[in-house]
């Protein structure tokens, strides 16, 4: 008979059996079991393998302190990696397998690695960086690293709800202290939230016969009822995993297995930490054998799940909790021997199967060794919030010291381990009354790792860090606990050092002959227990993370078979027509050059600057002089950062003496608006300048090409379109069927262009009228891809594509304002700093390739011909120009302007080619077509 389940007691529901499998074998557990308690009940001891040596591992603790039982769990056809078995509730039909073990945990092919332990000590792979050669070991180490495997399948709908809430008092932990404090606070009128990570509140109370004269079940039920009756809220299966700035506590609320936990960002006026304490391992030879378990864990398995961890139990404890624990286990039917661990060297006997324990030369047969090295308060959240820890000699533990604002610790988390004191303390703290002194009957003898002692003594069970590794780290001068942690990976296992940190730092203290508090702890960081990354992101992905901006005319573009894509945050037509994109783009370019293209340019920024100081303001914002711009005229210019780097380009039109429209790049509008607002409010009188972003309110349709005038002329607008009456770089305000429109003669293609802006609700009529007029002359819609080719043929740049973070306007051939502009402007002084005057600046140039050669790859490097070739620049835009019949390219090249005609070597992903530097404008350099 292998069952370790006792016939009664515990919180499990014996009327609801659940079937599951582990490493291919089928078992039965009950509703209310964890994976570990169900396996223990079935007599399974080996539940995994350690990370480095693949030593067999059984569970250590019954809850968040277990580093050993880690499973991949499949339920409903979906596999979830690295589920902590001690805290994962059993569900019917779960298929589980151990991680880091093949074919199974009890028989693992890599178990032989343990024989190599002498060569795989702390930092062994760091040493391979130096000698003999990391590359020899890297493939093997990489293959062996990591625990569970992530399923390649995307889990549909795995998204965390994101909740925001507040309360007056947040109580973390639903054990005795937490329940008492929550009730007292709620009954004194506070808005209370109690969070508890188990299914059922009560902490370790179920190990007791009675609490304040009641059974633990009744007492817990009474407290919960009283809390809720007083308006308090109780959240079970909820972990407070971190305290963040401004007292925001992150709560992860578990749903059914397989669903993402729900994230609560809880802001509490006051946080009461009642997170309890865990048992410490004792460091002795072979203390990692399956069957060496936490005494408190065994009591929990018995009290909550009705599982007796062993039949012949040796209790190895240095503290006063051993006696009641031994009594409880004996009453449940185990044979229990209490052993004092402080009398001499200790050794576990047996290997996969525990045979006994030897202390000070005396052997005791046992199938299970239950260990308690003293209680360690769970002070993680205290440290997240900046609370101090004080070493307490009486309890041999770090206890909460100076408190962070708005935070208090009670119960075992505060080192108040005895029940009566904890309840008194909890109620006093909840009612803002003076708390009693820490006192109690809990007694513990100092018991810490002894350097130099014999045998392999485990400190970190999952990561295989032994006492010898700590000694080695100390010899190699990794004596700070933070260095020790990183060198040995002590405390970096899945339990984040809950079981190993105290032993590790105590070992280091002993090696150095320093007191434990002087050595100190490593930093406690959130999360308290591992959380899926999805917890933090929630549904903020794709459109919900970065919503696309949509065109008013999107339905019409779809009707015209547009290939819609994201360009600078906008969903806009890349080209029209299905099938081969390159063919469509080419045809659209040719159409725009031969007749005309009609483009939806609505994303183009339309930021109005108004007010009595508008003129001096835009003159300051722009690199170019704007104050000489007359109403009805347009100027091209740059905005710079204070460092003199090009931030954006575009045209600015003056509508009247005090009114301008800034037409910034489509993808930079939000940034430009914020830039303008910052300068408006800081350094100007904000009551004399007003900034209004109307990009979404106005749609803009551009007609570009030799037939553009004919097409626009077909519209019913009272406007003389002739080149004399309406020249390039001017703007007219008029009406179209009674609706105000702005018509601008600006061009981003190098051909005659009209940009017609109309309020978005009337844009559909305009689009249809233009397309109808265009059709009769062979013109039609073009997408943004064709525009990119057209503008590159003309040598017009796109900021951020043909420029980089260091580009200044004179690198682009616009040097005059730098020399001539008298008024101050953003970035002015930076244009005369040493870096701006360097003669090796990267400047905008064009490139030609030999006849028949393919287009240069965008991003290709331009290699100098010096002794040590290096990148002197790169290709920023490259197309096979349909207009010119040969490839063209733009790029940034050191001293580029002086190198026109020079051959340069081009390097891309190992391929070499060459190109000839030329001026960046390939099409109509004289501008005849532009001014037509």
């Amino acid at each position: 008979m292998t069952s370790h389940r006792i016939t009664q007691g515990g919180l499990i529901d014996r009327s609801r059996p659940l079937r599951f499998s582990f490493d291919g074998k089928t078992y039965q557990g009950y509703e209310g079991d964890t994976l570990v308690s169900a396996l223990l009940a079935n007599g399974v001891r080996i539940m995994g393998r350690s990370f480095k040596y693949h030593r067999p591992r059984g569970p250590w603790g019954a809850w968040v302190d277990d580093p050993n039982a880690v499973f991949n769990v499949t339920l409903g056809g979906v596999e979830f990696p690295n589920c902590p078995g001690a805290t994962t509730m059993l569900r019917d039909g779960m298929v589980t397998r151990s991680v880091n073990a093949f074919p199974s945990a009890s028989f693992d092919l890599k178990g032989g690695l343990d024989l190599l332990h002498r060569w795989l000590g702390a930092g062994f792979y760091y040493k391979t960086f130096i000698w003999p050669d990391w590359h020899l070991f890297e493939p093997m180490i990489r293959r062996m690293a990591g625990l569970g495997a992530v399923s390649a399948e995307v889990i549909e709908g795995y998204a965390s709800d994101q909740m925001h809430d507040r309360c007056e008092v947040l109580i973390v932990g639903g054990g005795a202290a937490g329940l008492a404090a929550a009730r007292a606070a709620a009954e004194s009128g506070r808005d209370v939230v109690l969070v508890e990570d188990h299914d059922q509140a009560g902490g370790r109370l179920y190990q007791l016969d009675s609490v304040e004269g009641q059974t633990p079940q009744d007492w817990v039920a009474d407290q919960l009822a009283a809390i809720e009756a007083a308006g308090g809220r109780v959240m079970t299966r909820t972990t407070a995993f971190g305290v963040f700035d401004h007292r925001m506590v992150g709560l992860a609320q578990q749903g059914p297995f397989g669903y993402a936990p729900r994230l609560w960002r809880m802001r509490a006026d006051r946080i009461v930490l009642a997170s309890g304490a865990i048992d410490r391992p004792v460091t002795f030879a072979n203390n990692d054998r399956p069957g060496v378990m936490s005494l408190d864990g065994a009591c929990e398995w018995l009290a909550r799940y009705g599982v007796l961890a062993g039949r012949n139990i040796a209790v190895l404890s240095n503290n006063s909790f051993a006696a009641p624990a031994a009594r409880m286990l004996a009453e449940a039917g185990a044979e229990v021997t209490e052993i004092d661990p402080t009398t001499g060297p200790i050794r576990a006997l047996g290997s996969k199967r525990l045979k006994g324990i030897e202390v000070a030369g005396k052997r005791h047969p046992a199938d299970t060794i239950l260990v308690s090295g003293g209680m360690t308060p769970l002070v993680h959240l205290w440290r997240h919030a900046g609370g101090k820890l004080d070493w307490d000699e009486r309890t041999q533990a770090f206890l909460p010291g100076a408190a962070p604002e708005g935070m208090a610790a009670i119960g075992a988390a505060n080192g108040t381990f005895d029940l009566d004191q904890a309840l008194t303390e909890a109620r006093a703290v909840a009612r803002d009354e003076p708390r009693p002194d820490r006192a109690g009957d809990y007694r513990v003898k100092p018991l810490w790792p002894e350097p130099g002692s014999k045998g392999r003594q485990w400190i970190d069970f999952q990561h295989d860090v032994t006492l010898k590794d700590v000694e080695l780290a100390a010899r190699e001068n990794y004596v700070s606990v933070e260095h020790l942690k990183r060198y040995t990976t002590l405390g970096m296992a899945q339990d984040q050092g809950k079981t190993s940190n105290m032993a590790g730092l105590a070992a280091m203290a002993a090696i150095q002959g320093r007191p434990i508090p002087e050595v100190g702890t490593t930093t406690f960081r959130p999360p308290f227990v591992p959380q899926p990354i999805a917890l933090y992101s929630g549904p903020h992905a794709g459109q919900l993370y970065h919503p696309l901006k949509r065109l008013a005319l999107e339905p019409l573009h779809r009707a015209a078979d547009a290939a819609l894509g994201e360009y600078g945050g906008w969903l806009r037509p890349g080209w029209y027509g299905s099938g081969d994109p390159a063919g469509h783009v080419r045809a659209e370019v040719i159409k725009a050059r031969e007749t005309a293209g009609i483009l939806d340019a609505s994303p183009l920024g339309k930021v109005e600057v108004m007010g009595p100081d508008a003129e001096s303001f835009v003159n300051f914002i722009y690199y170019n002089t704007i104050k000489t711009l007359k109403p009805g005229h347009i100027r091209y210019g740059f905005m710079l950062t204070e460092r003199g780097n090009v931030m954006d380009d575009g045209v600015i039109a003056r509508l009247g003496p005090n009114r301008f429209v800034i037409s910034c790049s489509s993808s930079h509008t939000d940034h430009v608006r914020a830039h303008l607002e910052a300068w408006r409010q800081d350094g100007n009188d904000p009551d004399r300048i007003f900034i209004h972003d109307l990009t979404q309110q106005w749609s803009t349709l551009t007609v570009t090409g030799p037939k553009a005038r004919d097409i626009v002329a077909a519209l019913d607008m009272p406007l003389d379109l002739s080149a004399d009456a309406f020249p390039h770089m001017t703007l007219r305000e008029t009406t179209l069927n009674g609706t105000p429109v702005r018509v601008a003669r600006v061009s981003f293609t190098g051909d005659l262009s009209f940009e017609i802006s109309i309020r978005s609700s009337r844009a559909a009529d305009l689009w249809q009228a233009l397309c109808a007029a265009g059709e009769s002359v062979g013109a039609g819609p073009i997408g943004i891809e064709a525009l990119s080719v057209l503008r590159a043929e003309k040598g017009f740049i796109i900021i951020g594509k043909d420029t980089e973070g260091e580009t200044m306007p004179h690198d682009l051939g616009f040097g005059i304002p730098r020399q001539k502009k008298q008024a101050a402007f953003v970035g002015d002084r930076s244009l005369h700093m040493e870096v701006a005057n360097r003669d090796d600046r990267r400047q905008l140039v064009g490139f030609r390739v030999d006849p028949g050669a393919p287009p240069l790859p965008t991003g290709a490097h331009l290699i100098g011909d010096g002794d040590t070739p290096r990148s002197e620049g790169y290709v920023t835009s490259s197309y096979d120009s349909p207009t010119l019949g040969h490839p063209i390219a733009l790029g940034l090249l050191e001293r580029g302007a002086d190198r026109i005609g020079e051959r340069v070597a081009v390097w891309h992903l190992g391929q070499r080619s060459s190109a000839t530097v030329c001026a960046p404008c390939f099409f109509d350099p004289e501008g005849e077509r532009l001014n037509a």
């Binding site: 960002r265 910052a678 409010q681 101050a824 002084r829 700093m833």
Partner: protein
């Protein structure tokens, strides 16, 4: 996660804000001579003080600049004032 008090919109999540700069930095008059050292100091030098700091922030959702006084150690926010009302 911090809560910042926008003087116009009230307490809001820190992700809605953009740090604009430390207070008290004046742009040199670039119509006159500005030495490279002075300009570099204007561009690059931050006091980055420990403790009580006064800074200019923008609340991105309303675009208003304001002065926030806070403690760079404890992260406590001490006050916030619209930039145009800031008298110090």
């Amino acid at each position: 996660m911090q809560l910042f008090p926008c003087p116009f919109c009230g307490p809001r999540d820190e992700r809605e804000f953009h740090f604009a700069g430390e207070i008290g930095k004046t742009r040199p008059d670039t119509t006159g001579e500005v030495s490279a050292e002075d300009w570099a100091r204007y561009l690059n030098t931050q006091r980055n003080e420990k403790g009580r700091v006064r800074e200019v922030w923008m609340h991105l959702t309303c675009s208003e600049l304001f002065v926030m006084e806070r403690d760079s150690v404890t992260m406590e926010v001490l006050s916030s004032t619209p930039l145009r009302e800031d008298v110090e």
